[in-house]
Amino acid sequence: MIRLKKTSEIIINSAGLIITLTVAFLIVVILILLLSSEPVKSIYYFFAGPFINKYYFGNMLNVSIPLIFTGLGIAVAFTSANFNLGGEGQTYAGALITTVVCLWLPQANGYVGGILAIIAAIIGGAFLAGLSGYFKMKWGTSELISSFLISSAVIFIVNYFITGPLDDPSNNLLTTYAISDQYFLMKIFPPSRLDISIVLAVITAILMVFFLFRTHWGYEMRMCGLNREFSRYGGLNVSAYMIFPMLLSGALHGLAGGISILGTYYMCLKDVTAGMGWNGIAVALIAKNNPLAVIPAAVFFAYIDAGAKAAMLHSDVTFEIAAIVQSVIFYLITAQALYTFLKYRKRTA
């Protein structure tokens, strides 16, 4: 039932995004010209940095993996007109749960343990987001507010475990004990940190398209998102679609957290997943909730991040300048995407 858009339509739709990108990059150049004493070098590393060697390139893709999962999580909720603002907490909880399961399981169980740990993270994330969906169905509580509040509380609870009962005193960082190396995900692009889970991310995005456009749950979910009164009239179980998409969204966030531990960090550091939830929202906005477009959108975010890191290492760009530049781009892109999104909602309302 998916309709392929005409090329001309795509170009018109992307015109705004392209203009915003151009403006954002121009501002970046101006900022660097003002703030750096070696602007040419800084700009070079900012834009070309992620491509100069395998290490940077692979790491960039690695950063995009959790963003693909969280972006999909937000997109799937948006599609059914549910808003999950609790991505930060759900991802963080997923990371902690994965770590705890890996630490707690008996030794030498191979892949089984890793899979169990990921499943636990998925369930944890789904539960947290599902609560908001349940409250909405039961009492009409705005899921936007409740997911955010629950998530804010969860972040402190996770922090307590990391700095309290699970803290590794032998490590100088605020972190839990490290997990055993049997759970580590396979590296596929040495010397970079890129691991096999990127394949899973791409498969998930493809499955999501299939789910939304070919299965009857996907159809019902989209209809509920587009016009709730029509769905109710048509005999769809509207209240179920307040919970189910939230469960799915939370599950994807939990998965993002779990994968970050098994693939990249191997221990649950304090604030290990910070930003993944919020950036997932921006990714979904840029991708206009299209699951396949989430992949390039996530890679783009990772690219900006990698560029900033490369510029910091190789030129006189400081962390602060890199952070300012990064935020300028994020704000502009997100504002543009949000604008299109709101305009679209206004038209459909």
């Binding site: 109710r232 009239y233 005999g235 459909t348």
Partner: protein, 514 residues
């Protein structure tokens, strides 16, 4: 020149292909109470929205107080001294009366802070000037509907409005509240205000207005002095000539009872007035029951209740003898409910999804192959409907790209694809052109021929008189007439609809044997 002159106003809604106002001339004298009457969709509200700056006319000019007025938005209208009280109140329930009244032009303390004390004083002063006794500190949620309306009026008086427009002000009020409102309006007139009141209740026109403008199908039919015209004549002017569509409607014997509605009552939480008041009727197979009435008299509520979108307060609904009271749409759909709603763009369809996605809702499970849509089957089905109903448009295109008539055909096609023995049509041809309407009438008669039962809810009397076997008329949530459709004049139905006749005695159905 009159106090207010609207000249040659034309307003077309291109999206819905509706001409709301066509070359309308409308004038009001200073210090009169002027009523505008007309059926639903006659263009009364649109005309007033143009005057209040909520809509921009495609053509025409407005002169107010002898000068040409440019009214781009309600603020402009307020500045000129024109105010409007909407049918649905625009008040913030958690705010106090004073806060609601001053909203937008609040008195300030030290150029910055909201001055609550001063607001209360000023609002009280304005209200008392006009003889209203209200406590400005009371919150809106503590008020009755009649008091809320008063707050809306005070809101306008606070803005020093000279011309006050009231859009169907009595539709939510009880009889006593209506009397109170009228006293208020007479009082305002005495104080020099000019009032325009939109209504379709003729007794109210007689009771309150000095002059009356009658509108029909976007045009002004006549302007009269109220004292020189009686209600019967007004009713005739409003509904127009009876246009009988010559359908070959064969005589069919009514079969068994398919749907039975027993003493259904609906009360909205916090409102004194009953939305549905002890409504009972039966629909047999091979029968079209037409429910006529003016908007706001329970037609929409009856539709909601039967469509499973609203629960009744009291009473029973039976389908083939089984109790289906308060089943929701999900359960009714499982039983095969088919229902063409009045609000076809919001409830009946999803404009942003494709034509075929609109065609399969409520029976989309039939197109699944192990949980996955069989696209070929969907496509074949959609093409079939497109051809059978001669729908103009691509089945993969979004629904909004279709015209109004074609959108209604999509809805009709989907609902008739169900094998239900009972079908609800609500305002099936509202705003459609003649050809599309004819097509829909043929379909309704075809269903009747198949032995199914049809409930036709409509404010279009021609439609009801042409199609229905039995006619039910509703007024203020009650059934005021139930007549077999034999030699009934349009005037008679019109009189029942407008509350001019009240000679029908409905007996409460006794609960027997259960």
């Amino acid at each position: 020149m009159a106090y207010l002159e609207m000249k040659n106003i034309t307003k077309i809604y291109p999206a819905r292909e509706i001409v709301a106002n066509l070359k309308v001339d409308f004038s009001v004298e200073r210090n009169e109470i002027h009523a505008i009457v007309g059926e639903n969709g006659a263009g009364k509200t649109t005309l007033m929205k143009v005057l209040y700056g909520l809509e921009q006319p495609d053509e025409g000019e407005i002169f107010f107080n002898g000068r040409k007025a440019e009214i781009k938005n309600p603020m402009d209208a307020n500045r000129l001294g024109i105010g409007m009280v909407h049918q649905h109140f625009k008040l913030i329930p958690e705010f106090s009366i004073a806060e609601n009244v001053v909203l937008g032009i609040e008195p300030l303390k030290n150029w910055f802070f909201f001055d609550g004390e001063k607001s209360c004083l000023k609002v009280k002063e304005v209200a008392e000037n006009y003889g209203f006794h209200i406590d400005p500190r009371k919150r809106i949620i503590e008020l009755t509907v009649g008091q809320m309306q008063l707050v809306e009026i005070v809101k306008m008086l606070y803005r020093q409005v000279e011309l006050l427009i009231l859009d169907e002000p009595t539709s939510v009020l009880t009889e006593q509240q209506v009397q109170k409102l009228f006293d208020t309006l007479r009082n305002l007139k005495k104080m020099g205000k000019t009032i325009v009141i939109i209504t379709h209740k003729l007794n109210e026109v007689k009771a309150i207005s000095d002059r009356v403008t009658v509108m029909r199908k976007g045009e002004v039919v006549t302007v009269r002095n109220t004292s020189e015209v009686d209600q019967r004549e007004l009713s005739k002017l409003m509904v127009g000539k009876y246009l009988f569509f010559d359908y070959r409607k064969e005589k069919l014997a009514c079969g068994r009872v398919i749907l039975e509605v027993k003493n259904v009552t609906l009360r909205q939480f916090g409102q004194e007035r009953l939305l549905l008041d002890n409504v009972s009727f039966k629909v047999h197979s091979c029968e079209i029951v037409g429910v006529a009435g003016v908007a706001g008299n329970g037609l929409g509520e009856l539709e909601d209740v039967l469509g499973g979108l609203r629960s009744v307060t009291d009473g029973k609904i039976l389908h083939n003898g089984e109790d289906i009271t308060n089943l929701d749409a999900l359960e009714l759909r499982k039983r095969g409910l088919a229902y063409v709603p009045a609000n076809r763009l919001r409830r009946g369809s999803c404009l942003t999804s494709s034509v075929k996605e609109n065609m399969i809702i409520s029976h989309h499970h039939n197109f699944l192959n192990r949980g996955i849509f069989d696209n070929k089957k969907v496509q074949t089905f959609a093409r079939g409907l497109k051809e059978h109903y001669s729908i103009d448009g691509d089945t993969s295109a979004p629904l909004w790209s279709l015209s109004g008539g074609n959108i209604q055909k999509v809805i009709l096609a989907r609902e008739l694809a169900s094998k239900s023995d009972f079908i609800i049509f609500s305002e099936p041809t509202w705003g459609l052109d003649v050809a599309s309407s004819q097509f829909i009438y043929q379909k309704i008669l075809e269903i009747r021929r198949q032995g199914r039962a049809v409930l036709l809810i409509s404010s279009n009397l021609d439609e009801i008189l042409s199609l229905a076997d039995t006619i039910i008329v509703m007024y203020r949530g009650r059934i005021v007439a139930r007549l077999p459709n034999r030699d009934i004049s349009k005037e008679l139905i019109g009189e029942y609809m407008l509350g001019l006749r009240d000679d029908f005695k409905e007996e409460r159905i006794k609960e027997s044997g259960d």
